[in-house]
Amino acid sequence: MTEFTPVSALLGGALIGLSAFILMLTIGRIAGCSGIVINIFRIKNQSKSHLFWRISFVVGLVVGPLIIGSFTQFSIPTTYDFPRFIMIVGALLVGIGAGLGNGCTSGHGICGMGRLSIRSVAATITFMTTAFITVFIVRHLLEL
C-alpha cells in the first residue's frame, strides 16, 4: 500500500509541466523522454548542438532527483522487488512500444495531450488501458 499524496503529486506534476513549457519556449523542443533518448542515437541527422542539449537533458534527469533528495524527503527508490526477467521483458516492451508509437508518458501524455493532439490523446488512452489491464492480470488473476 502507498499513501495518497495529492499535494506532492500536483506540485511534482507542475514542475514537469514547467520543464516542458520552458524547453518548448526557449528552443522549440518537445520534452518527450523516449524521443530525446532515440534522437541521441541518430547521430547522422543532427547538429552537435542538438545532440548536446539532448545529452544534457538526460544528465539533468539523473542529477535532478539527487539534488531534490539531498534537501527534501523526496527520493528515488533503491530497490525493486520484482524478478529480473520481468524487468527485462518490461523494459523491452516499454522501449519497442514507445519507439514504434512515437512517444511515452511525457511526449504523448503531457506535451501531446497538452496541445490537444488527437494522436497523443489516442495513444495515452491506449497505453493507460493496456497498463490497467496488465496490472489487473498480474495482481488479481495471477496474484503475483
Binding site: L18, F21, F57, V58, T72, T79, G95, I96, G109
Partner: protein, 136 residues
Amino acid sequence: MKSIIGLFCGIIFGAGLTVSQMVNPLKVFNFLDVFGHWDPSLAFVMMGALTVFGIGYFLFLKPRTHAINGEDMPLIPKGAIDKQLLVGASLFGIGWGLTGICPGPGIANLGSLNPDILVFVAVMTVGLIIGNKLQR
C-alpha cells in the same frame, strides 16, 4: 546555451518526477490497480503537468511561430490514428504495467546505481532503437 537549457529542464523534470513519486514503481502499480488498494495520486501528477503546460501552451506557445532561439515551433502531427501508433502504445502500456517504470522515471532512477535499473534502461534503450527502426 542550448545545452544549459537542456540541463536545466532535465533537472526540473527529474525533480518533478521525484517530488511526484512517478519514480516509484509501487506508486505506479497502486495507481494502475483500480481494483486493489487504489492510490489515485498519479492522476494528480498528470493534472499538475497538464495544467501548467496546457495553460502555458495556449497563452504563450501557440501564438508563436518560433521559439526564443529562432527555431521553428514543433508542429502537432497531422497524421491519422494508425495501427502503428496503437500497437506501439499498447505494447508500451503492457511494459509499463509490468515494471511500473516508463522512460523518464527509468532514467531518473539511474542515480541509485541499482543493477536492476541499469539493466532496465539499457534494455529499454535497445528497445527504443528497435521500435523506431520498425516504423514505416
